[in-house]
């Protein structure tokens, strides 16, 4: 018999596997690793995954079967106090992250940040249109501006054809650009040397969320994958696999970037990723403080 907690999925989740497990996903009934794998897939996959909508639509109906029960009167004060304390702290409490092991492929553990915007940040603009360039993105050097404009431009061209993931991906992309533009962030410009090659940037917040955005990424053969790496000293540590959409855009978020990473690099690896790079990086950039 299977062990509870043991993942049933491999590290490289396919759309078919996601569709197959959609019922269990919408009921919160997957093993944690599988849940995270599918969440990460949904956050980056350009496919609509209509099965999630179809099966998920029933879940709110299940809640109607539950008898309403008035909570003890004292609970309201507890709730108000807990939220007030969280607000005073100013941000989400630091979240426990899975331990990262050097050289170990761990893309399955990548999850979308549960909080894409700081509720206390009055300057936060909700991305009502996926291709809307935020006002604060006007910052930066010519290189940075070119990269950001290219990213937003690619997104604009493809946005109309994207289905249910469009808003979510736009939110991540907006947050990535926002992080890139903030002076307290560390950033890396990534530009392939070959003419017409891929380009993009990495940006890491002081609190430790890393974003990687690449445009003009060529499709890889079915037996290969793009893999991102943190380089600490001379030691490459896997950041995870990149999913590239039909427009050549890759958006990647990591809540647990490797501390002390000095360089971000991308390689082409066998499908499923590698423990250590098997090819030379086709693009890399030094991670430096913005300010």
């Amino acid at each position: 018999m299977s062990d509870p907690g043991r993942p049933t999925l491999g590290p490289d989740v396919s759309c078919d596997e996601v569709a197959d497990l959609a019922g269990l996903y919408v009921l919160d009934a997957l093993e944690p690793a599988d849940y995270q794998s599918i969440t990460a897939h949904l956050a980056s996959c350009p496919a609509a995954h209509a099965e999630m909508r179809e099966l998920g639509s029933v879940v709110p109906a299940l809640a109607t079967l539950v008898e309403q029960i008035d909570a003890p009167p004292a609970l309201k004060a507890r709730v108000m106090t807990a939220v007030a304390e969280a607000a005073r702290e100013g941000a989400a409490a630091p979240q426990r992250q899975p331990e990262k092991q050097p050289g170990r492929y761990s893309a399955g553990g990548r999850v979308l940040p549960p909080r894409l915007a700081d509720p206390e940040d009055a300057t936060w603009n909700r991305p009502t249109r996926p291709w809307q360039l935020p006002a604060w993105a006007s910052w930066g050097s010519a290189v940075a501006a070119v990269v950001i404009i290219a990213v937003v431009g690619v997104w604009a061209l493809g946005a109309q054809s994207r289905a249910s993931n469009a808003e979510e991906r736009a939110a991540v992309l907006t947050e990535a650009i926002r992080t890139f533009a903030q002076p307290e962030s560390s950033i890396a410009i990534l530009r392939e040397s070959a003419a017409g090659g891929s380009s993009g940037f990495a940006a890491v917040t002081p609190s430790g969320t890393a974003y990687l955005v690449m445009v003009n990424m060529a499709p890889v053969p079915a037996d290969q994958a793009y893999q991102a790496w943190y380089i600490v000293g001379e030691q490459p540590i896997s950041a995870g696999l990149l999913t590239v959409d039909e427009s050549g855009l890759a958006v990647f978020v990591d809540q647990n970037p490797e501390p002390g990473a000095q360089v971000i690099a991308l390689t082409r690896e066998p499908k499923g990723g590698s423990d250590q790079p098997t090819t030379a990086p086709f693009v890399s950039g030094e991670l430096r403080p913005q300010a």
């Binding site: 919408v26 919160d28 997957l30 969440t39 995954h49 989400a92 409490a93």
Partner: protein
Amino acid sequence: MTGVADEALIERLATTADEAALSELYDRYQALMYGLAMRITNDAGLAQDAVQEAFVGIWRNAASYSTVRASVRTWMLSITHHRAIDLVRRRRPTTALPEGNFAVAALTVPDVWPEVARAVDVDAVRSAMSELPAPQRQAIELAYFEGLTQVEIAERTGSPLGTIKSRVRLGLLTMRRQLEESQ
């Protein structure tokens, strides 16, 4: 605050951490949330913890609510469900949900919660549930109301993992069809 739309309350919560908005949301949904948490945890203390943690999560994620195409009610219940299940599973450490990601499901699948549930009444849902083949109904109930994972349901029922996956999927599809027909 009475008469203010749910969405406006969430907006106020997101932009100013408005205490009055939070109070109103609590008054509107505490019985639903506590009832759901009690059903899942079967423990008053855990249920109160789940509701408290859910409201903290709601505040933390209020700014992202616009990316979720769901009613406030559905969104709040999905967070409550996730928190309650997480608390239950902490008693079974091998299956605890990922720490801090309680709202991820609702945030990463923007279209996952359309409006089927708004229009159906509880009798229609109960009828749709009761007409399911018993194994499908059992799999859904064990997952949603008891917080068991696929592996745990397989062990509880002595069925293969793939069978559990199929039962849940077929059961939800059948319920959806029946709920649509009942409208």
